[in-house]
Structure formats: C-alpha cells, structure tokens
C-alpha cells in the first residue's frame, strides 16, 4: 500500500477502461460498513453490556500441571514405535477424507490366516497329545453335513419342486421390491432388473422349426393290422418313391459315366502309340501317297486374290437397288400404320389375354414355390439333409397280432433326422476317430539273444 504508484496516464475512454483504472475502494468499504450495520444493527443504539465484556481471567498464562510420568524405557519405546506407521510408509496412506468406494479391493490375508509349516507342526503335536480331540470330531461331522447338504441340493434339482409358470410376481422377474408399485412404469421396472436375472425376448425362430410338426401323422398303412387298401396305398407310395430314385440314378449315370466313350485296352494302346509317334518321321509308304499319280504341277493351297474393280454401271445399279429396297420398306411400314388403326381392338384383346395368362401362370408358380418351400430341406451345412422316406411295411411282416411285430426302423435315427429336417440341427456326418496303429520296432543290439527275438515275433499270436 505504501508504495506510491507511479502515476500513469491512462485512457478511460470506454466503460471497461473506466472500471479498470478508477479507484473504488472507499466506496466499497462504505458499502461494506453499511451492510454490516444492516445485519448487526447500529453501534450507537446498542447497550454497553452487549458490546463489552469484563475481563476476569487476567493476562496470566495457564500453568500446566505436569504429571509424574517416568520416561519410557528404551525397550518400551521401541515397542510403542511398533504400532506406529513408519514414516516411510506414510506416503502410501490416503490423505483424502473420502472413503474408498471399493473397500474389498486388494484384500490381503492377515498374518496367521494360512497355516505355516511351524504352526502345522505344532498343531500336529497338540493333536497327538489329544488337545483337539473334540474339535476334530466336530470338524469331521461338519464336513459330512456339508457334503450331504450338497448332495441333497443336487437331487433337489431333479425333484422339480417349483411352479415355473405359476408365480408371475414381480419378484420372480427379478424386479427389486422398492420398484414394485403401480405408479412406476414397466420399462423403469425392467430397467432395474439385474442383467443375470433379466429374461430377454428371444429372437423369433426360423419358420421351418416352428411350423413343421415334430411328430408327423402316420400313414394309415403303417398300422400293425392295416386295411387292404391302405396298405396297398402305402406300397404304391413306396414304389413311386423308389421309381423316382431309380430314375434319378439313371439320369446321373447317363450324364456322368455314360457320357464317356468306352475304349478297349487294345484301342487304348493304339491310341497311345499314335499320339506318342505323331510328328516323328514316318517311313515312306508309296501306297499311301495320294499325289503320286498326278503330274508335278505346283498348286498353292490359297491362290492369290485379284482386286477386280467394279465399273460405273454396276455401282449405279447397286445404289438403285438399295434405294428401291428402302422405299418399299418405308411404304410397307406406312401401310401397316394405317391397318393397325383398324386392328386396335384385336390388339387390345390379345394383350389382355396375354396378361391374363401371365397372371395365372404367376399365381401357379407362386403356389408351387410355396408348396416346395413348405417341405424343402434346409441346407444348414455342407452335408445334405436326409430326405424323408416313406415307411415300408413288408406284407410278410404283417402278422396281425401284437406279439410278433417287427420294426425295421430305428426310432432314434428318425428323431435325429426329423430334427435335421426341421432345421434344428445342421446335417452332419459323424467322423469316427481312427485308431492309430502303433508300429513297434525291435531295437537290434549286441545283447539281443535268440530268445528275445522269438518273444518279439510271437508276441501278438495269443491276441489274434
């Protein structure tokens, strides 16, 4: 304050500069005083008793009464120090008063939590002495109880003592109790469900899984005692299926194996000989030479082309011909235009019939597609899904009584394939693990005797 400021000429041109360089301390002090007075009242009006206090204590400092405490011994001092946090570690302590939000972090087991080698030894010795006898027995009992409890809990899961669909209470959905109120919106309730307890809506299943029946209604002909017509119907179905398969197979054969010409071994040999000897100089055979009879005049394979010019007349004729052709064409089109005007109705009707035909074909195609889609086998993997084959019941097997029924189908495989056909499983081929063949050798050495060799040779005789 005492430092005298050097006066400086400052421009107080605008409002900001004015505020910055003018001294307003005295005004502020005054205002502060005023505010104080407003708060506390005026000094003039207050009684003395409020403003002043009678000093009774005096200026003397308090005399400390020192107790007769003996200074600690060196040992005790050291021991007291043990409880203190060492200076060097004080840095690690938290200086903030804010509590750790996660107190469990870095839990360190206290000393003595884990049995040390020494403590184990001591306990063993004490156990031998019989100090812990009762404790041991108790511990054994407790352990057994815990085991039983665990086992029982495992069995309880197979008792299904739970009404899964009965309780539609909010608590069963994992909604906290505090939010169970009719005024709280459902979204808010569900928002607070723990992620592990939340039942999420499942994405919808594939159409084939949902719509196709798990157990298809059987053909009436598979009855153990079918009526004649129904059985014949079944047999007819089987026959048709078989025929279709045979046709397919024949087609495949024709298209693949049957497509190639068959060659006998001798022919093959000849072909090979020919191919291998092509381009090699052949011995001259006068009988084979076709040109031997003709005279020795030279004849080119492609005689030279002469550029023969057309004269004016031919050029003109050509041009005229072209123009005439063009004119005729134009004329024809013009004529067509006129006749088309009269044909309009016919055209319209033809267009209409064509459109109708197309529409009907479209619907037919759509129907056909829908029908094939309904039974189409899903391709979910590189393997082919097995198609359903009609059940074949051999008439010889039909005995008509329940005792002698013979089943020729494997129900488990049927289930497996049904799952594949519905698209619940990708078609697969089980890859069998090949047993590794171990090859054993006999290490030859100088200590090998005849007996050893014989033993090695005859080692597998007994097994086979």
């Amino acid at each position: 304050m005492s430092v005298v400021k050097k006066k400086k000429r400052v421009s107080k041109k605008n409002k900001k500069a004015w505020g910055k360089y003018s001294d307003i301390r005295d005004v502020e002090e005054f205002l502060e005083d005023q505010r104080l007075e407003e708060r506390l009242g005026k000094f003039d009006t207050k009684p003395d008793s409020e403003l002043f206090v009678v000093d009774t204590a005096g200026d003397n400092e308090e005399v400390k009464v020192e107790a007769d405490v003996k200074p600690l011994s060196r040992k005790l001092q050291k021991r007291a120090k043990l409880n203190e946090v060492p200076k060097c570690f004080e840095v690690l302590l938290p200086t903030s008063k804010v509590q750790d939000p996660n107190k469990k972090r870095n839990h360190v087991n206290p000393i003595g939590f884990k049995p040390s080698a020494l403590s184990k030894l001591r306990e063993k010795r004490q156990a031998q002495k019989g100090v812990f006898e009762k404790k041991l027995v108790e511990a054994k009992k407790n352990r057994k109880m815990a085991l039983d409890k665990k086992r029982k809990a495992k069995q309880v899961r197979q008792n299904f003592g739970l009404d899964l669909w009965g309780k539609d209470l909010p608590a069963s959905k994992g909604i906290p109790e505090t939010l169970v109120d009719e005024f709280i919106s459902e979204e808010a309730q569900l928002h607070n469900v723990l992620p592990t307890q939340r039942l999420r809506p499942k994405p919808p299943l594939a159409k084939s899984v949902v719509t196709r029946a798990a157990v298809e209604t059987p053909h009436p002909g598979v009855s153990y005692n079918p009526s004649y017509q129904e059985h014949q119907d079944l047999l007819r179905q089987v026959g048709q299926h078989e025929e279709k398969m045979m046709k397919k197979e024949a087609h495949l054969h024709r298209v693949t194996t049957g497509m190639f010409r068959r060659v006998t071994q001798a022919e093959k040999e000849n072909q090979w000989r020919e191919e291998m000897s092509s381009g090699l100089p052949q011995p001259h055979n006068p009988a084979e030479d076709p040109d031997s009879d003709t005279d020795n005049e030279y004849k080119a394979v492609n005689p030279p082309v002469k550029n023969k010019k057309k004269d004016h007349k031919t050029r003109r004729k050509q041009k005229e011909r072209l123009l005439e052709k063009e004119r005729l064409k134009r004329e024809k089109i013009d004529k067509q235009k006129i006749t088309d005007l009269y044909k309009l109705r016919k055209l319209q009707s033809s267009i209409k019939t064509r459109e109708q035909k197309q529409a009907s074909e479209r619907t037919k195609r759509a129907e056909k597609r829908a029908a094939t889609e309904a039974t189409a086998l899903p391709t979910l993997s590189a393997h082919k899904t097995p198609a359903k084959e009609p059940d074949f019941v051999d008439p010889k097997q039909l005995s008509g009584d329940l005792r002698n029924i013979q089943a020729n189908t494997n129900p488990l495989r049927e289930r497996f394939e049904s799952l594949q056909r519905r698209g619940a499983l990708a078609a697969s081929k089980i890859m069998m693990k090949k047993k590794k063949k171990l090859k054993s050798y006999f290490k030859a050495g100088h200590k090998v005797t005849e007996k050893d060799i014989e033993k090695y040779v005859t080692r597998n005789v007994g097994k086979k």
């Binding site: 299904f160 739970l162 999420r200 157990v215 993997s381 488990l412 495989r413 081929k429 089980i430």
Partner: protein, 608 residues
C-alpha cells in the same frame, strides 16, 4: 469432404449372419460347449436367402447363425458357468493323468450342475407354450427311457426319463386326457388333449435295446436335447399334478429313485414300470375328486353358425362319454399281451386292470375274480375259460377308444379274424370321399346298410348289443302305445260331443236358433301354420343364391373353384355308389339264380 467409404458386408445380409467359427470366437467357447448351449437355449442355424452375401463372399456352404441370436446368447449367465466348468474339467484331467484317482473321484462327485430352470421359463413363457412343444420332448424321453447306460449319455438320464414319463402318464390318467391311439409297426401313437392342446407322441414297442450304429446318430447331441427336455417335462409334470390336485412328486415304486443302485435286469424294470402305472396317486387333502367340466356356454357371436355350434356340442358330449368309457369295468390281461399300452389306456378311461400275479409284480386282483368283465387275450384258444367274462383281443381296446364307444365284441372275440386297425389320424375334414359300406359300418356301429342280409353270419351277437336293441324296440312300442291312447281319447271326446247332441234333441226351432247363435259365437279353429318343406327348400335355395352373389370379387374365383371341386367329388362319390349298387344287385341276382338252379337240381334229383 468425401464421406468415408462404406465397407462391404457391413450392413444388410452380410452383417445379419455369422459363421459358426465367428460365433465361437465371439462367445469364447469351445465347439462342444457352443453346441450344448445352442441346444439348451433353442438357437438353431439359419438358412440365408443369398448365401454368397451372407458368407461375405466366401464360397462353399458354411453353417450360419443370425448375429442377433449370437448376441442373445452373449447375455446368458450360463456361459460364465461353462467357462468355470472348463477349469474343473482341467482339474479332473490333471488328476487322471497324475493318477490321483481319489482326487479325481472327488472332483467327479462334486462336479457342479448347471441350473437351467430359467431357460425353460424363457423359452416357454406360458404353460400352454410348453404343452405345445411337448411332442418332441415326450417322444425322445420315452425313447431314452428304454436305453441302458451308454457311453455318451449321463448315467442318470435314462433313469430320469423313466421316472418322468411314468409321472406324465399318471397325469394323463388322472386328467383322462387320452383321445386317440394308433398301433403302428413303429410303435404306439398316442394323442392327448391337455389344456386345449393336442399332444401326439410315439412310444416304441418294447424290444430290448437295439445296439445303434455308431455313425448314424450323434448320441452326445441327442443327450443334450434330452437334458433340456427332461427339465421341461419335470416342470410340466409339476404343473399338471398341481392343476389336478395331486401330490408331486408321486410315490411310485422303489425302482424309480435315483439312489437305488441295485442292478436289476431289464424285465424287472419293465414290470416295475407297469406296476407303477397301476397305482393310484395321493390327492391333495381337501380337494374333491369329481371335477366335471361345465356344459358349453353358448355365446351369440355373429359369425358362428348354429351347425358348427351343434357339432361342437356333440363333440363335447362324445368326449364326456369317452372319458368314462371303461368306468367300473374290470380287465384282466393275459400273459402274452403287451401290458404297458393296455394298462395305460384302460386306466385312462376309468377301468381297473390286473394281470397274472405269479409272473409280474403289481397285480391288484386275481384271475379267478368273478367280477372281471373282459379278459384280454392274444392267442387262438384257452384251456380254462370263465363264463362270466368276454375273451377279447387287445385290438378291441384300441378300436373302442378311437370309435369312442364300446364296440360290439363279436369281431374281436378270441380267435376271430380281426377287422383292420384303422388310423384315427386321418383328416376328418376331407369328408367328400367315397366310403364303402363296410368301412362306414366299422366307424359307426349304428349304421345299417339298406339291403342287409347278414342273417347268415355265424358269429353270435354280443348280449349287450341285443339288450340295447330290445330296449330300443321297447321304447318304440311305448311310443306306439302312447299314440294309440291319444287316439282313443280323441275318439271318446268326439263320441261325447255326439251324445250331447243326441240328448238335446227336443225343440228343433230352438235348436236352430241356438245353433245360429252358437255359429255366431263360435270361434273357428285356428289352422296351425304348416311349413311346406318343399317351399322352404326353394326359399332357402334362393336365399343362398342371393348370398352367393354377395361373395366379393376377390374371392369369387376361389369360391367358384371350390364349388366346382365339391360338385366333382360329389359326382365321383355318386358314380362309385352307383357302381357298387349295380354290382351288388348283380351279385344278388346271380345268387338268386344259383339258388334256384340248386333247388331245381335238388328237385330233379329227388324226382329222379
């Protein structure tokens, strides 16, 4: 500034699908675990519309999953469990390798189970949903219940299947829910109606377990399916039992408890299983047994036509009858008959069953019991027969259930050649087909062909049927008697009035006056409005045609084609009927001619 170039396959079908390998990577699971969790959660591979795009340009056929499905799996808490189990499996593997068998055994014993209750609830939010999907579940569980312990199947699984299936059958028995049975070469088809849902399943014939080819079926996968299905079936059973006021779990025979580790042979198992089915279950205290369904309430809805309602009513009536078809009847099953299906069916409709107590456990009454009504036999003859009972073949039971009444037993008696066992699963809505009279007679016992000349049949009619016929005849006679009485009464009244007239004849004029007065006072007898059936028919037809005109243009073609089809089928049926009639007449004529010739021959011979 140029916007960033969109990468190929980052949207659309390319982003919608995910290969299995990518899914494994995303979920951090092994293929084995992934397969398992997919089956448990009901996530199946998908077929893309455009494979090339879905596989992000890669060729070949890969197994694809929806990305959404995989994301859904990602939230499953079980995935964490599976990852934890991996550690456990490592421990077991290590113990085995180190030959610490004690530890290994301990680990195996304490192997943590995965709880999948919430998955069942998640996949089937309501009970009806679970019932709707029970077909596959039941078929697989019944199949697995016949399996011995196999290499890839957990040991307790087939045992659990056995227990749960028997429990379910008990629930069906208590609910009287069985509707149809079909005995096929593959096995028994059962159809049940629970909570308005029809459930169909197959029970294989009881052969001893057939060894499976190793490369036909993946046992591991099927066992995982069964793992989920047993869980589901357990909860369904619980719910069913509670809705039927039964105690769950029911106390069945000892063979079904899991701790029982005694080695019992297959036949003993089967016997126990059937014996368990013949028990009656404990009911919850304070519940009344008779729970009759109320009659169908009729609500007036606009679209419902009265014919349909009538049909529904009839159906309900039939089912009501079916439920108590065997009530109070006692059945005895002979030794050679497969007992399991018969016990189940007979008990379903209120009958009582027993069998030879020397051969199998669980017989409730003896063969010599006089109150036995039916003895089920599957052999041509028997040495000792009781007069008080009918000896029928097992097919009678199945056919009776499908016909929903007790069929006349004359076709099913011991040693008789059985009529064919028809499938009840034939679509009844396709009624526009020709049914030969023989089949009609089989379906409907009341049906009588018009020219019935089967008096020569040598099998005697069942006495029950006879009685019924007699009763019917009685009722007809009663009706006739009533009519006669009414007639008589009318005559008497007329006579009375006549006699009155006679008595009064004193003053003719007065009489005349009185008569006139009377005439003036007389009330002409009202003529009851008579409906002319023919007239009504015509009116109806006209109304129908008018209604036909109201068919929308959109549906007109469909309607026309439907009508044309109906006409065509009708015509075919008519043609076949005609053919049959002509054939029958011809046959009759020939028969007559033959008879006459025979008689003539006999006469000639006699004369000669």
């Amino acid at each position: 500034m140029v916007s960033k170039k969109k990468k190929k396959y980052s949207s659309g079908e390319g982003a919608q699908f995910m290969t299995r390998k990518a899914a494994l990577k995303k979920l951090q699971l092994s293929l084995k675990d992934f397969r398992r969790i997919c089956i448990l959660k009901g996530i199946y591979p998908r077929e893309p519309r455009n494979r090339k795009r879905a596989q992000k340009g890669a060729g070949g056929i890969k197994t694809l999953y929806h990305t959404k499905d995989i994301k859904f799996l990602l939230h499953e808490p079980i995935i964490w469990k599976l990852r934890e189990l991996k550690v456990y499996q490592q421990k077991i593997r290590r113990a085995r390798a180190m030959r610490e068998y004690r530890n290994m055994k301990k680990f195996l014993r304490d192997y943590p189970d995965i709880n999948i209750d919430h998955i069942v609830k998640e996949r089937y939010p309501t009970f009806v949903d679970a019932l709707r999907d029970l077909d596959d579940c039941l078929t697989l569980c019944f199949l697995f219940s016949t399996f011995p312990s196999l290499k890839k199947v957990p040991r307790d699984q087939s045992m659990l299947c056995r227990r749960l299936t028997v429990e379910f059958m008990h629930a069906v028995i208590a609910a009287k829910a069985l509707r149809k049975v079909f005995v096929s070469v593959k096995g028994y088809y059962y159809q049940v109606e629970l909570e308005g849902q029809t459930i169909t399943w197959i029970v294989p014939h009881h052969f001893s377990f057939q060894p499976q080819n190793k490369d036909e079926v993946d046992f591991k996968i099927m066992s995982t399916f069964v793992e989920f299905y047993t869980m589901m079936l357990g909860f369904v059973n619980f719910k069913l039992y509670h809705s039927l006021n039964l105690v769950y779990p029911p106390k069945l025979t000892a063979a079904f408890s899991a701790d029982d580790k005694e080695l019992i042979d297959e036949h003993a198992y089967v016997a126990e299983r059937i014996a368990a089915m013949n028990l009656s279950l404990a009911r919850v205290e304070g519940s009344n047994e008779a729970e009759e369904l109320p009659e169908i309430d009729i609500f007036n809805t606009e679209d419902e036509d009265p014919q349909k309602l009538e049909e529904a009513k009839l159906e309900a009536e039939k089912i009501k009858k079916l439920k108590t078809m065997f009530k109070g009847l006692k059945f005895f099953i002979n030794r050679e008959v497969p007992r399991e299906p018969l016990v189940f069916i007979i008990r379903c409709f209120g009958g009582e069953v027993s069998w030879d107590k020397d051969h199998f456990v669980g017989a409730t009454f003896d063969e010599s019991d006089e109150s036995i009504a039916y003895h089920i036999v599957d052999r041509p003859t028997m040495d000792k027969q009781y007069l008080s009972r009918y000896y029928v073949q097992p097919q009678w039971v199945f056919d009776s259930v499908n016909a929903r009444t007790l069929l006349p037993i004359n076709n099913y008696l011991m040693g008789a050649v059985l009529p064919p066992h028809l499938s009840p699963f034939v679509d009844k809505t396709k009624d526009q087909v020709y049914i030969p009279p023989e089949e009609k007679a089989l379906n409907d016992p009341n049906f009588k062909p018009l020219d019935d000349d089967q008096s020569g049949s040598d099998i005697e009619e069942a006495s029950d049927e006879d009685k019924e016929d007699e009763e019917e005849a009685d009722s007809e006679e009663d009706g006739d008697a009533e009519a006669a009485l009414a007639k008589q009464y009318q005559q008497e009244v007329e006579e009375d009035s006549d006699s009155d007239d006679d008595e009064e004849g004193v003053d003719p004029e007065k009489k005349k006056l009185a008569k006139e007065k009377k005439k003036a006072m007389a009330v002409t007898a009202g003529v009851p409005h008579k409906e002319h059936p023919y007239q009504k028919e015509i009116e109806d037809k006209q109304a129908f045609r008018l209604r036909e005109k109201l068919v929308r243009k959109k549906h007109r073609n469909l309607y026309k084609s439907m009508k044309a089809g109906q006409e065509k089928r009708k015509k075919e049926i008519w043609l076949l009927r005609k053919k049959r009639r002509l054939h029958d007449e011809k046959a009759k004529e020939e028969k007559k001619v033959e008879k006459r010739q025979k008689r003539q021959q006999a006469l000639e011979q006699a004369s000669a």
